[in-house]
């Protein structure tokens, strides 16, 4: 047990769990304030709804895992990838273009999604390493550019549009071969497909790259001490670009995976997709650990679904959004909690020593 207590991985998990509990408590208080009578039932709905619908939870977790990985990966070299939204959008549009305009099969569309995201991630990386421009600023700009480019692009190809031209055509009408195979997973939920398996595999690959390879060693060195990495002969500039390209590719793949399920149609709205920002919560809650991103994405997906169920208790959509947001953001404080937990164990040890 005492060995477990000094294990950093164990402490991280404990911190994440503790922050989730605190987040839920806050959420409950918020429900009490909004409508005290229905709060217990609302909370119960939110917490249990996902269980009945695990397939749907997993389905919605797919893009979350990918954008979470994207943010987490960039974070390893010390970049804050706030541009996952734009990369996700470009991934989606590249994939849909291949699917609907060129009638290509799903695996080619996924590769296109990766390419789209990677290109969008590359620019902030290049600007950072060539001109020392902060990646936060450039990736926010890339979000806006991505959003406008996607709308312009899609609306210029009528083959891609649904009868109602505010969105892309459904894939089962447009190109069924571009829909991801279900591999029997649709018995859980009608839209669930191999996307979840791909996402999990990618997460494991990311973990292996970061923890086990020389490339991951270089990335972490750059993230922790850029000058030290340069001194060691590591090409920090190249690594910044590379990791942003990879981060973009991950988010782009997320966009591809989500829109190639056949479920979602890409809407031509002048709005930045919130998905990229969810990636930040996923990564924070997972303490940037790739495997952790799988679980935190599932958790957040679970909460969001539960939030929808709360509406039957008479809470407005906005209210449920606020509650889930509060929980997610408090959960993201796990970093802070980690320190408290370490301190707590330190004290406990002291007491033992005194006895």
């Amino acid at each position: 047990m005492s060995r477990l207590k000094s294990n950093p991985g164990f402490i991280s998990i404990l911190a994440s769990l503790a922050s989730i509990v605190i987040g839920l408590l806050f959420g409950f208080i918020l429900l009490l304030v909004l409508n005290a009578k229905n709060a217990p039932a609302g909370m119960a709905n939110m917490l249990t709804n996902g269980i009945k619908d695990m397939g749907n939870v997993l389905y919605n977790a797919i893009p979350l895992i990918m954008v979470g990985l994207s943010v987490a990966f960039a974070f390893k070299v010390g970049c804050f990838n706030i541009g996952a939204s734009g990369q996700y959008t470009m991934g989606a549009v590249f994939a849909l273009f291949c699917a609907l305009k060129w009638q290509l099969p799903w695996y080619v569309c996924l590769l296109a999604a990766i390419l789209g995201g990677a290109v969008w991630g590359m620019f902030p990386g290049l600007f950072k390493s060539l001109f020392n421009v902060n990646e936060v600023i450039t990736s926010i700009m890339m979000n806006w550019i991505g959003m406008n480019v996607s709308v312009l692009w899609v609306s210029n190809f009528s083959q891609m549009l649904a009868p109602n031209p505010d969105r892309t055509m459904a894939l089962d009408a447009g190109n069924p071969s571009a829909i991801l195979p279900k591999a029997g997973l649709d018995s859980l939920y009608s839209y669930l497909n191999i996307g979840i398996i791909i996402a999990v595999i990618v997460a494991v690959i990311m973990w292996v790259i970061i923890a086990k390879t020389t490339f991951g060693y270089e990335l972490r060195a750059c993230g922790l001490n850029k000058n030290g990495a340069i001194y060691a002969g590591i090409n920090a500039k190249r690594n910044v670009v590379l990791s942003m390209v990879i981060a973009g590719a991950l988010a782009g793949l997320g966009g591809g995976l989500y829109y190639l399920t056949g479920g979602g149609q890409f809407k031509l709205e002048k709005e930045i997709l919130p998905m990229g920002f969810n990636g930040i919560s996923v990564a924070l809650l997972a303490n940037s650990h790739p495997i952790g991103c799988i679980f935190s994405a599932i958790f957040i997906s679970y909460l969001k679904l539960g939030g929808i169920a709360m509406q039957s208790q008479g809470y407005a959509t906005e209210a449920t959004d606020i509650v889930t947001a509060v929980i997610i953001y408090l959960a993201a404080f796990s970093l802070l909690l980690r320190l408290t937990i370490i301190k707590f164990f330190g004290k406990e040890k002291k007491e033992v020593a005194k006895q």
Partner: protein
């Protein structure tokens, strides 16, 4: 009397102690950094704290400053038990500390750093003019020269230290802790600092002065407490002791102070520098101006000079951290003027950097990860891009053993949790074990104790005898006189003299270092 009773006992003829730390025990994972240590600081004295690297000096001072909470023991100020839970408590008790590694905000100005945390405001508006006056008055009174509007990242280490001292004075501290203040200073700056400490003492301030330079302790302190491996060894009056006694108390054996080496037998040229010029980042002039020299196999060449005369910029250009604006650098017959750092390393250049925290280590990596910092790509440590963790561990254990690198948890200790001297040993181990052709050692013994200095000097001489060309940069006059076979003096970016250490006096060297004399160097 049992030791624990000390705390409550009132002896009739009790000394006037400003600070008493009684029976302090502080543990870190795997190590007892302070094991039942008692230290009593008299009012108005300069009390030296002596010990090897990792003896627990910084830890003890951090306990006093509220950075660490001890498991056992109490602290008394003016005879009363006090709680120091954090540095704010310490400041309230008028205890101030200059840390071994400065705690300044790099991108803030000197003035902002000094007032940070205790800003004078009027209705929320900073009263800069007022504080500037107070700071400048203090600066003048104690001869602490600063440039209040320069950014920390642009000023010398010496000035950074003066900023730290002014920080303490600005907060009206009367207990002043100096954690290895002289480790980073030039000889002149050291003399100045000692004078400043004497002034503080004359004003009734009490000073704790950490050092492992025995000559300084003999020169400035009244009493000296010695720690070894976390344990209290004893407290002596400086006037009743000798350098030899102190060093054997500290190390636990007698130490050889002088470097022992045969005459150099230099052979072929390894490094040739021709007309290298490096532009300055701060001012319009060149930081390094038309520097040319050669280093041969089997000799130690020392680049001596007062800090800030272009040595740092030259070394950065030589090792590839910066680029030259003109000139040529050749190593083992290959032009490396514009080669990447990695290429230079592969050609056999090893570099013990001046700033071990900025360049030498990834502090949040473990010791073993740091020991393979340039070598993780070697086939020995990776296969198809996958790190061979077993091989890394074995190699780290070998180096730890061979170079006696001490740390709490061995190879998996975070570099940040190691004492400065052991961090330095880790870097030296890594750079020497690479088997270099050229060893660039910049202040390799900065901040180390006599035992470790002796050891590192031996290693460098052994490398020389193995046929390595060694380029040493040092600010310590003892080291400059003792270790090298040839001395080049650098002044304002130029080489102004070349000497044989056996034939030159310290005074003569000092004149060249200060720019009072120069000769044309024939190469």
């Amino acid at each position: 009397m049992a030791e624990s009773d000390l705390a409550n006992a009132k002896l009739p003829d009790q000394e006037d102690y400003a600070i008493e730390m009684l029976n302090i025990t502080k543990k870190f994972p795997g190590i007892i950094a302070n094991d039942n240590i008692t230290l009593q600081l008299k009012r108005g004295e300069i009390h030296a704290l002596l010990g090897e690297n990792g003896a627990g000096k910084s830890t003890l001072m951090s306990v006093l400053f509220g950075l660490y909470q001890p498991e056992e023991g109490i602290i008394k100020k003016d005879g009363k038990v006090v709680q120091v839970r954090n540095p704010n408590d310490a400041t309230a008790l008028h205890i101030g500390m200059v840390h071994q590694h400065f705690k300044l905000v790099e991108c803030f100005t000197v003035l902002d750093n000094i007032i940070l945390g205790v800003e004078t405001t009027k209705m929320g508006v900073l009263q800069k003019a007022e504080t500037r006056k107070k700071v400048m008055a203090l600066s003048e009174k104690y001869g602490l020269r600063i440039d209040p509007d320069a950014k920390i990242e642009d000023i010398s280490v010496g000035m950074q230290q003066r900023v730290e001292i002014l920080k303490m004075l600005y907060r009206d501290n009367e207990i002043l802790i100096f954690d290895e203040p002289t480790a980073v200073l030039t000889p002149q700056e050291i003399d100045e600092l000692m004078e400043i400490m004497r002034n503080f003492k004359a004003e009734g301030k009490s000073i704790l002065f950490i050092s492992h330079k025995l000559s300084e302790i003999m020169a400035v302190s009244d009493r000296c407490t010695v720690l070894r491996k976390g344990k209290y060894i004893g407290t002596v009056n400086t006037c009743d002791t000798t350098v030899e006694e102190l060093s054997s108390m500290m190390v636990g054996r007698s130490v050889q102070m002088k470097v022992e080496k045969e005459d150099a037998k230099p052979t072929d040229v390894v490094l040739e520098v021709e007309g290298v010029t490096v532009p300055s980042k701060i001012h319009k002039n060149n930081a390094v101006q038309n520097v040319s020299f050669k280093v041969r196999r089997g000799e130690i060449v020392c680049l001596a000079g007062i800090e800030g005369n272009g040595q740092t910029q030259f070394i950065h250009a030589l090792t590839g951290l910066d680029s030259v604006s003109s000139g040529k650098i050749t190593m083992c017959g290959q032009d490396i003027t514009h080669a990447s750092i990695r290429k230079r390393s592969e050609l056999g250049m090893s570099h013990i950097p001046e700033d071990r925290h900025k360049h030498g280590l990834i502090l949040d990596f473990s010791l073993e990860q740091n020991l393979v910092l340039q070598r993780f790509r070697d086939p020995e440590f990776q296969k198809a891009g996958f790190i061979n963790f077993g091989a890394v561990r074995k190699y780290a254990e070998k180096l730890i053993d061979k170079f006696d690198i001490r740390s709490g948890q061995g190879p998996i200790t975070t570099a940040r949790a190691m004492s400065g001297g052991n961090q330095q040993k880790a870097i030296v181990a890594r750079e020497i074990d690479k088997g270099p052709e050229l060893l660039v050692a910049v202040q390799p013994t900065r901040g180390l104790d006599v035992g470790a200095i002796e050891y590192i000097h031996k290693q460098i001489v052994a490398e020389r005898d193995r046929g390595v060309a060694v380029l040493l940069v040092s600010l310590e006059l003892d080291e400059v006189m003792d270790l090298p076979d040839r001395i080049l003096v650098m002044y304002e970016g130029e080489i102004v003299g070349e000497f044989d250490p056996k034939q030159v006096t310290v005074e003569e060297l000092g004149l060249y270092m200060a720019g009072a004399k120069r000769m044309e160097v024939a190469e």
